[in-house]
Subunit: 348 residues, 2 copies
């Protein structure tokens, strides 16, 4: 194994620009896992009921802050779930109560997206209001009417059209999985970026259906072909400011995964940074690791540099079989890096 | 719905040219399901331990006959699992004790194929011995070293080579799933045929990973794209003698399917004929239904016309949620056709 990284190094506290934090007891259980590893996190709004207005948004933020406990570095950046019915006034009120982004779920595209947007064109006025308020548009970019492996590519023309019609709207195409999505994001202007998860960087569809069926890495969009994974890896390791980390970490209980109708989602929050460091040591550089996890995302979202840093040490540990009743990525296997508790950057 | 078929019609008792019958209690439980629907069945040899010699083959046949009980129409056609170490003498003894075919599993291609053939070229002398004994070569045509969706197409050049080197060897490419496999089988001489399962005729990869994860339709080779399914449907409904029914029906207990490492296989024996009749009524003709299920396979395998017939009646029934501890295809949903008990063809 190549060891280009020193055995101990520090990074600004990484951010996670796509995260599911759940509700109730699950929220209490899983927020601290995220807060142990990340500073600013973009919190997905597909709760039940969804985060649609400033009241539910503020209440959800408070619940998250309470659950985070003693983690002063942890800042949930709140989002709302876009509906065709959002008026310009509703969007303004969301912005005024601190929303960072709105999330577009095409109806039926993933978990809790039955109430997503069925006619994307009908949401154009919402995008206009978001552009006016300088809110970020986060997109789950899949056309659910297409064959499962074609859904992301089938949605790309809509992204292209939104970007063209709203040149000042910042747009994040979430958890991209295909070479064609990488190409589109590169071709579009600087107001369009993309997040990449750790599981899409490391795995292909082989991980789900190549051997025995593995429900614990089943997610939407599903991982694609080896050449798609390679395109994502090249994008993450490139010097383009357009590609940054969003984990899409999503804790589902064992019973909802090992089931006759298994839920989509991979729980990666506790293992994402060790796996990313390992990935960038093998395929990238310390500079690209830092850019992907700590710099590009916050610049795109216009949040300041972190006041905190983390020290990573080459010290292996075995990922637990479960966190609560959730099986994490790499369960039972060793990862090579241990993180310190975040500390304030001296002189920062 | 189109109703081109009469509400009651008879067919010669269908045969199933690819079937898993298990061992011990599972064998006792599931053989009668198969015997209720089919006459001649090609029995897969990937038991534990595998069927490799004339002794295990004869013993397995006896166990199956005992389990079938009062079903005089039911004839298991026995196969053995090919090993590089099979000598010409071993193959001759297998043929003399009534083997119909040998099955080639590339190592690691599917359930219980860890002891498959690792170097296919090393099995060339076995193919020569089988050709000399007029045994059929059944092939699980996947290259396990390829990406999961490419495995079947990656294996096709080997099929091409075997067919070219052994022009008198009858070869069945089992459970084909891709348009390219259809094309190759059509292009090769008449000694090469293919089986198609009911689940590959009806489903694409969408059924496994398109919505919630569905372990009960997970199989190897996995279902592919819509255009692949359409190519299989055209082949089944065509007048080519090369495509016939093999269910690959494989009962796996619920616990082995709804698991962190789910087994590959779909249990279709009790529902295959109702689903096939429905499929051919919509996409084919009564003639193509009869050819696919009752004629082409037995001609290729050189077994005589059945002495039995079955009457099918347009009478809906709901597929049970489980057979024993196995979830069948279409569990809990209605199918439209009810089969009579097989009866001797009068004057046959």
């Amino acid at each position: 194994m190549s060891r280009q990284f020193p055995d101990t190094f520090s990074l600004p506290l990484p951010d996670d620009f796509h995260l599911h934090l759940r509700q109730d007891e699950a929220l209490l259980r899983y927020v601290p896992d995220a807060a142990a590893s990340f500073g600013r996190v973009i919190v997905m709004p597909n709760t039940t009921p969804p985060i649609r207005d400033e009241h539910s948004l503020s209440r959800y933020r408070e619940q998250i802050m309470t659950a985070a406990g003693d983690a002063p570095w942890f800042v949930p950046l709140m989002t709302f779930k876009i509906a065709e019915s959002h008026t310009a006034d509703a969007v303004r009120r969301l912005a005024e109560s601190g929303a960072t982004a709105g999330k577009l779920y095409p109806q039926g595209a993933t978990t809790n997206a039955e109430d997503g947007v069925s006619d994307i064109r009908a949401a154009w006025p919402v995008f206009a209001a978001m552009e006016a308020q300088d809110l970020v548009l986060c997109i789950h970019g899949e056309d659910p009417s297409s064959f499962v492996l074609d859904r992301e590519d089938a949605f790309l023309p809509i992204v292209d059209q939104i970007a063209s019609d709203f040149p000042r709207l910042r747009i994040v195409l979430e958890h991209i999985t295909t070479a064609r999505a990488v190409d589109l994001v590169l071709r579009l202007p600087d107001n369009v970026a993309a997040t990449i998860t750790v599981h899409h960087l490391l795995l292909t569809l082989d991980a789900i259906i190549g051997g025995f069926l593995n429900p614990h890495v089943f997610c939407k969009p599903v991982m694609k072909r080896p050449e798609d994974r390679e395109a994502l890896a090249r994008a993450a390791c490139s010097d383009s400011p357009k590609f940054f980390f969003g984990s899409d970490s999503a804790p589902h209980p064992i019973g909802a995964k090992e089931s006759s109708c298994g839920c989509a989602g991979v729980y990666t929050a506790p293992v994402a940074m060790p796996l990313l460091i390992d990935f960038f040591e093998r395929h990238g550089t310390m500079e690209s690791l830092r850019a992907f996890c700590c710099e590009r995302g916050r610049r795109f979202y216009r949040v300041p540099p972190s006041d905190y840093e983390v020290t990573y040490t080459r010290e292996a540990w075995t990922v637990p079989a479960t966190y609560g009743d959730v099986v994490p990525l790499n369960a039972g296997r060793a990862v090579s890096w241990t993180a310190s508790r975040p500390t304030i950057i001296s002189g920062g």
